[in-house]
């Protein structure tokens, strides 16, 4: 860290600095494993996985680790998966969507997972079958559902899926709409106003809206320095708010007359009640705000598939057994990731991957008649408060009093110090984490 001591919080760090610090980092060659036909026993148990995102893909891989003999089928609608994490980087041009796009080829070739590009239309829990849009009926011994999130547009008047598909992308699932938001940011008039409105808890990637705000400011500072960014929040607190706000002070003049970011909390009337698309205005508890770019991130609930299969309760999310991720509503059905009620665990890719591993072990143990172990989960989230300024939150979790809770004294966020090297290191780790993590999920 000593080599970074002379750096200021605003200073750019280049590749040479990093190589000096860490040695040349080489992009790993992707291993190509020829698809091989493994013959499974006729009576081998069938595990069917719905969803090829982080939860579903991690589960399939780690179930293969836990059990070489089980038949695994993964059903995913799209042949490719674009990660939501790091998609904020795409909005400001630090990454391309291609770099966030993955497929399930290694799951098939290395882990002998049968991947079907298809869509599940229903399940019969008594017969233990699922039906697909292409007309397949698949029997399962264990069903694992990892369906992501769905949006509650109706919570904001004037907002709906059609509006979001047009000029008001939430860009909270990565894809074409991420690029639309990028276009809007680039085309923001000189000295214009952008609004980001984060959702109510709970929602996917709790730091996501604030990282997005940070990266918007990072971009505008260079390309449109007289522009303003207004964050209209229904909440009074948000994750890592201490380190985020300190970074905003250091980088974007937060709380000064020249502030590039202004944050309006729920108590201050930040909650957006209505979107007026014609007049480019949002109505909040504290009055109307006109802007040139409006990015409303809707409130959320469990993915549509979880709702359709009856895996959600009144909260809109899926209750699960905390030691196995088995649904509390349907036996032999497990739910992973953002859709679940996981107590202290945030809805993050890391959490979905963590839950997938606990679930893979639990499913394998159950199929083999072994006693279940006690679950240990983890979550680490690195966010960028600026291109070279990282903030993190992390915790190890255990099940206590029937709830997933931080284990030991492990829960915490980045300390606020006057050492400029620390946030630079966290930004570096963030980039390393992304490359590592997708390998743990997809290869």
């Amino acid at each position: 860290m000593s080599q970074l001591e002379h750096k200021t919080f605003e200073q750019k760090i280049n590749r040479r600095d990093l190589i000096k610090l860490f040695g040349a980092s080489v992009v790993a060659a992707s291993g190509i494993f020829g698809a091989s036909e493994k013959a499974f026993a006729k009576n081998a148990p069938n595990v069917v996985v719905l969803g090829g995102g982080v939860g579903g893909s991690s589960f399939a891989k780690y179930l293969r680790f836990a059990n070489p003999d089980v038949k695994i089928t993964l059903i995913e609608k799209h042949p490719e998966y674009i990660t939501c994490f790091r998609s904020n980087d795409v909005i400001v041009g630090m990454h391309t969507l291609d770099e966030l796009t993955f497929n399930h080829q290694v799951l098939q070739s290395k882990y002998k997972v049968n991947v079907l590009i298809d869509e599940v239309t229903g399940a019969d829990f008594s017969k233990k079958t699922v039906k697909t849009a292409k007309g397949e009926t698949l029997a399962y011994d264990k069903l694992v559902v990892s369906p992501g999130i769905d949006f509650k547009f109706a919570d904001t008047e004037g907002f709906d899926a059609e509006v979001a598909a047009g000029k008001f992308p939430h860009a909270y699932k990565a894809g074409a709409k991420t690029l639309e938001l990028r276009k809007q940011l680039i085309n923001l008039p000189k000295g214009g106003t952008a609004i980001i409105a984060p959702p109510e808890n709970p929602y996917r990637c709790p730091p996501g809206p604030y990282e997005r705000a940070s990266l918007f400011a990072d971009y505008l500072k260079v390309h449109n320095p007289t522009a303003k960014l207004l964050v209209l929040d229904p909440k009074d607190r948000f994750t890592k708010d201490g380190p985020f706000k300190k970074a905003w002070e250091r980088l974007y003049g937060f709380k000064t007359d020249n502030a590039m970011i202004e944050w309006v909390s729920g108590s201050e009337g930040g909650k957006v009640n209505r979107l007026d698309t014609k007049n480019m205005t949002v109505e909040t508890d504290s009055g109307n705000h006109k802007a040139d770019l409006i990015n409303l991130i809707p409130n959320q609930r469990a993915g549509k598939l979880a709702q359709n299969l009856g895996l959600t309760n009144n909260s809109g999310w899926c209750p699960v057994d905390r030691n196995s991720m088995e649904s509390l509503l349907h036996k032999e059905v497990y739910v992973l990731g953002d859709s679940t009620i996981a107590d202290a665990m945030p809805k993050s890719g890391y959490s979905a991957n963590s839950q997938a591993k606990v679930c893979a072990q639990a499913v394998s143990d159950t199929l083999q008649g072994n006693q279940l172990g006690k679950a240990v989960y983890a979550n680490v989230c690195f966010s960028l408060a600026g291109e070279n300024y990282g903030v993190s939150i992390s915790a190890i979790y255990e099940v206590r009093d029937g709830l997933i809770q931080p284990k030991g004294g492990s829960a915490g966020v980045s300390p606020i110090t006057d050492k400029a090297g620390l946030p630079i290191l966290e930004a570096t780790y963030q980039k390393n984490w992304q490359r590592n993590f997708v390998k743990d999920v997809f290869s």
Binding site: S25, R64, S354, G373, I396, W433
Partner: protein, 125 residues
Amino acid sequence: MNHRIIYGFLAVSAMNSAMAENINPIAKGQAMAWQCAPCHGTNGQEFEESMPPIAAMPAEQFTKAMLDFRQGDRPATIMDRVAKGFTDEEIKAMASWFELQPKKQWVDTSLEEAQLSLDATRGQK
């Protein structure tokens, strides 16, 4: 502070009950070690990024690093926080497991190779 003592106590009781339930501590080590993969690579086998690889790390080295992180004796970004989540026994169980993992990139490791090292760890009761 009180909470920490209570957590510590509960963690120890959890470990004791795991032993009472005759759960192989190495198997428990594996389940915990899997949780390290997002940053350190599958089975700790990521040798090309700034987070250090853990595969094949001598158990003593792993244990010392974790204990130093936990006590705040080693500079850290997040590992000081992460290490506070584990008891001495849990750290030892992970250390024994990681020591037996192949010292090569995960993408270059076949499932069969990985399985061999896992079988070796399973044998350690």
